[in-house]
């Protein structure tokens, strides 16, 4: 083919492709919202931690409200925050609170954090003789994850567990390799109790771990722990319970040894001082009963809604989820929100408005 013909061909190709591409883009117009005010399609995304509960709540809610359809995708908290900030979804969910900076960059104005549920992180381990309820004090836990305590028969572990025969076995630390709210709560705890951890590692959904190997997801970490004798890691409580892994008792702020459970998790939330905007960490909470490694998962909702039907459906659903919807928690190993908190959350929902008018009646 001659050069001229070639050139022509390339031009034609470019033109046709451009037409194809722009043609596809043009058909994305959404139907205008002229449905009746009582039917609505809501989309949300974010935290995978809250997904099993939220999904069940959505199904249950639909039984009585067939016209409301809610679609929640478990994309991870980071993606949830991003999408709600960009207003591409109607609500987000996260298991680490948004920073002030993130809140400022949200495009739809003031975003509210509404606690949806509570979770605990269990410290699980695999020892050949499997002593149950091993006691691990905060300092020991930090030093294990910093890579300073490397053997199970270390004097400091033995001192916390009188009468327990601990083997001469190397400790293998296992942690989450994927970004995760569980990691956020765990590292939040270590940062709270240890200045050294705060300085060297800090808190976040992904960390620069000083020691250990990473497993993907709860299942990956559980796999590493189950397959590695002498390993220690952290998992969502529900996951540890369902998989029958042994988990450690932790010393709480009052110096009491507590095992992770739904009761001790709720106790942590009930005893913690929770600020107006609900963005709070409840790790190392006061209270004799409180389990120290726990945290909230929040729904992220704009205070000013831009669509009346959607906004009404959303606040009604969330209001149901924090009241009646809580009945579903325990079967799924989530802790119930304490009653004093629920009434405060209801107050927050009442401040959500459409054109200045409150949506929750």
């Amino acid at each position: 083919m001659s050069i001229r013909k070639w050139r022509l061909m390339v031009w034609m190709a470019v033109v046709v492709l451009t037409i194809l591409l722009t043609g596809c883009g043009g058909e994305n117009k959404e139907p205008t919202g002229q449905e009746k005010s009582d039917s609505a399609n809501l989309t949300g995304s974010g935290s995978s931690f809250v997904y099993p509960l939220l999904n069940q709540q959505i199904e249950e809610y639909r039984k009585n409200n067939p016209k409301i359809s809610i679609n929640y995708q478990s994309t991870g908290s980071g993606a949830g925050i991003k999408q709600v900030s960009e207003q591409t979804i109607d609500f987000g969910a996260t298991d680490g609170p948004m920073t002030d900076e993130q809140l400022k960059s949200a495009k739809g104005g003031n975003l509210l954090h509404i606690p949806l549920t509570l979770g605990a992180v269990a410290v699980t381990y695999n020892l050949p003789s499997t002593p149950k309820d091993l006691k691990i004090s905060p300092g020991v836990l930090t030093d294990i994850f910093l890579g300073k305590i490397t053997n199970w028969n270390d004097k400091r572990i033995v001192d916390d567990n009188p009468g327990v025969a601990l083997p001469d076995l190397q400790i293998t630390v296992a942690h989450r390799s994927d970004g995760s709210g569980t990691t956020y709560i765990f590292s939040d705890y270590l940062s709270t109790i240890s200045p050294e951890w705060r300085e060297k590692v800090g808190k976040g959904t992904s960390l620069n771990w000083p020691a250990g190997i990473g497993g993907k997801g709860n299942s990956g970490v559980a796999g590493v722990i189950q397959q590695t004798s002498g390993s220690i890691g952290y998992l969502e409580l529900a996951y540890a319970v369902q998989n029958n892994l042994s988990y450690a008792m932790m010393k709480n702020k009052e110096g009491k040894w507590t095992a992770p459970s739904l009761q001790t998790t709720s106790a942590a939330a009930a005893a913690a001082t929770i600020p107006e905007d609900m963005r709070v960490s409840i790790v190392n909470a006061p209270g004799a009963e409180a389990y120290p490694i726990a945290g909230f998962a929040w729904a992220l909702i704009y205070q000013n809604q831009t669509d009346k039907a959607k906004g009404t459906a959303l606040v009604n659903f969330i209001n149901w989820a924090i009241h009646d919807g809580q009945a579903l928690s325990e079967g799924l190993h989530y802790a119930k929100l304490p009653a004093n908190l629920v009434s405060r959350e209801e107050g927050m929902l009442k401040t959500i408005t459409f054109e200045g008018e409150p949506l929750l009646k």
């Binding site: 995978s48 970004g179 992904s206 771990w209 990473g214």
Partner: protein, 314 residues
Amino acid sequence: MSKKRRFKTSLGDQFLRLVTFLMAFSVLVLMAWMGWQMFDAARPSIHTFGFGFITSRVWDPVKEQFGALPFIYGTLMTSLLALLLAAPIGLGVAIFLNEMAESKFRAVIGFLVEMLAAIPSVVYGLWGIFVLAPWLRETVEPGLAKWLGFVPLFQGTPVGFGMLAGGLILAMMILPTIAAISREVMASVPNMQREAALALGATKWEMIKVAVLPYAKTGIMGGIMLGLGRALGETMAVTMVIGNRPDILPSLFAPAYSMAAVIANEFTEATYDLYLSALVEVGFILFGITLVLNFLARLLVWSVARGPKGGNLV
């Protein structure tokens, strides 16, 4: 009549040419567009870290420090390990199936090898967690440390999850690709070549060496490169066994990390823009490495193909 007909055909041909050309061209456009998009999204990270992104060993999302060297190292090392293990075995499988095996045997083993390629990578990963890693920790790694412990590669505590596990899993995954393609190209070697060699008094091995392998070497090389491509990009199975630790350690027993794995692991929870951008830059570098390696492979294939078709007996 005949003139009209000819005109019609040539118009149809031209149309066909245009349509197929468009299809081919769209691949090019897609590649360029993807590359550009990734570069564009990686800009904040490129701007902040510059060249240091490739040379830094620190990956700390909390302190907003990002360096991709451990991931680049992990990807290249696991892929290299996989190639070193899988290429000879794959070739051996192909030679056996084509030249040695009886026909019923050939069908069964050939089928099984190709089945390996159809197993989803997450299944390989699960098998890696529950079978391979414990086996490596209990048996293989202590053994290697005992006999080859003087080499830094085989020192350190056996963990099971690490570079070696990643390389082994990858080797298993690319083995069928290499074996199947090598077998295809060997099967296409004309039988006259073999007969000629045998007629000259060659043994079976000499026949393979002189008549089959030289004839098929371009294709075999292509198969190996396809395997390499799969190894570089494999994500799920690797992340499940490699230990996911962004560190550069000499030991094969130690945990490591790969580029594809870190993207898959951290993308969903990348909570701020620079973090996201750094992950995209890792993807961009992986894209670049894949392109460069494929280009080099092409060059290799060309230079090999230009050589003589026959081999030397000695």
